[in-house]
């Protein structure tokens, strides 16, 4: 196992841990806003770590750029949707469980 393999393993495992934390937050937090907080923060970081871990295994520079683009697009979508859900929840006063 090379040093790059170890790096991949460590980064992907750390990413998976953040996904797990985000999911626990989704299930355990009391209202819409805290759940959104857990999901977007932890999952974006988790996905970033997984992408980071996969970079050494990408096919050339373009493969690596595509991975980074996937992460950026996911960040964008998560940030926007979190805003929209939070706005709707505040307007409808539906923030409770």
């Amino acid at each position: 196992m090379s040093a790059w393999d170890l790096f991949t393993l460590a980064a992907v495992a750390a990413g998976a841990f953040f996904f797990l934390a985000g999911t626990v937050g989704l299930l355990r937090f009391p209202d819409v806003f805290t759940r959104l907080h857990a999901l977007t923060k932890a999952d974006n970081l988790g996905l970033g770590l997984i992408v980071l871990g996969l970079l050494p295994r990408a096919e050339g520079v373009f493969g690596a750029l595509k991975l980074v683009a996937v992460w950026l697009l996911a960040l964008l979508a998560a940030a926007t949707v979190a805003q929209l859900v939070a706005r709707l929840a505040r307007r409808e006063g539906d923030a409770g469980a």
Binding site: L73, L76, T80, Q83, L84, R87
Partner: protein, 317 residues
């Protein structure tokens, strides 16, 4: 037992759980959201089966566009109490009967799956043998555009027929008018911001998926779906109005792909001696296939977008 088989053992129950939630939950909104989750999990299942093209189609069409359609219709029909809720939960007899029926059909199909011979008869050998003549690298594109071109041509026509059906449901005052209700979004809001930011990226991604489809997973259907999604986002964020369905430019875009496909098909009669045949001379098949695919990408994007936009409801201004 490999680690990937463990993934299968987790993924299959997750898919079934999402399906059960989509069918069983009281809350209709939760049901549609579960259906979208189900579609995305199913896309991973298709990757596990080695069918990346299908995974792209399932994620974009099965989960994405179908989900948007159902969510939009749900918003129109209202989440308030209605006669479906007033009737109360379905009777015990009906539930038991339906469960027995579902279980019996599932058991029958499962028995058929288990009884099939191993290994399965395959056509991959025949496809791999004939593929070099087309100059393509993605066997699925070869099957879609050449070996089973009839299916794809008829499918493109089925899409148009469904759209005609939807348009023909328009009330008289809105006949030939603008599909769907007017969308509202705050012009400085985050949705309008995304609607301005994402289309350039989405168009590049869509064209890339179309171009790469000749040699790797992708192609006209997946690319058309991405382009349709970009347009739907722009309409939802109230940046553009959908065109009136009587617009000539729109109708030309809708029929361009099938018409081009038919023209190349008839040209095949003269050049290759068969309808939808491609000339055997080296180097001719791939440009023709790319031409048909380019037309199909445009038409599929327009058709899918208008299928989701729905019946005309406003008179053309």
């Amino acid at each position: 037992m490999t680690a990937l088989y463990l993934l299968d053992l987790v993924l299959v129950p997750a898919i079934l759980l999402a399906a059960c939630t989509a069918v069983g939950t009281r809350d209709r909104f939760a049901a549609v959201v579960s259906f979208i989750v189900y579609g995305l999990l199913l896309a991973i299942a298709w990757v596990r089966l080695g069918a990346v093209d299908v995974a792209l189609a399932e994620a974009a069409i099965g989960a994405g566009l179908t989900g948007v359609l159902l969510l939009g219709a749900l918003a129109r029909m209202g989440r308030r109490a209605d006669e479906a809720a007033a009737a109360g939960p379905p009777g015990r007899t009906l539930r038991l009967g339906a469960a027995a029926l579902g279980a019996a059909v599932a058991a029958g199909i499962a028995a058929a799956v288990l009884a099939l011979p191993e290994p399965a008869p395959q056509l991959s050998g025949a496809v791999a043998e004939a593929l070099p003549a087309l100059g393509l690298g993605n066997p699925v594109t070869g099957v879609l555009l050449a070996f089973r071109g009839y299916d794809t041509l008829l499918e493109a026509v089925v899409l148009l027929l469904a759209l005609l059906g939807i348009w023909s449901l328009a009330p008289d005052p809105a006949w030939g008018g603008l599909p769907g209700l007017r969308h509202r979004a705050r012009p400085e809001g985050v949705l309008a911001w995304l609607g301005r930011l994402l289309p350039p990226v989405g168009i590049v991604v869509g064209l890339y998926v179309f171009w790469v489809g000749a040699d790797r997973p992708g192609g006209a259907f997946q690319a058309g779906t991405i382009l349709a999604a970009v347009w739907i986002l722009a309409v939802m964020s109230a940046l553009v109005e959908p065109p009136a369905v009587r617009s000539l430019a729109l109708r030309l875009a809708l029929v361009a792909g099938p018409a081009l496909f038919l023209a190349v098909g008839f040209a095949g009669l003269g050049l290759a001696g068969a309808f939808l045949g491609y000339p055997a001379a080296a180097g001719w098949a791939k440009p023709l296939i790319l031409l048909v695919e380019a037309g199909l990408t445009l038409s599929i994007a327009a058709t899918l977008a208008l299928l989701v936009a729905g019946t005309p409801e406003r008179a053309a201004g």
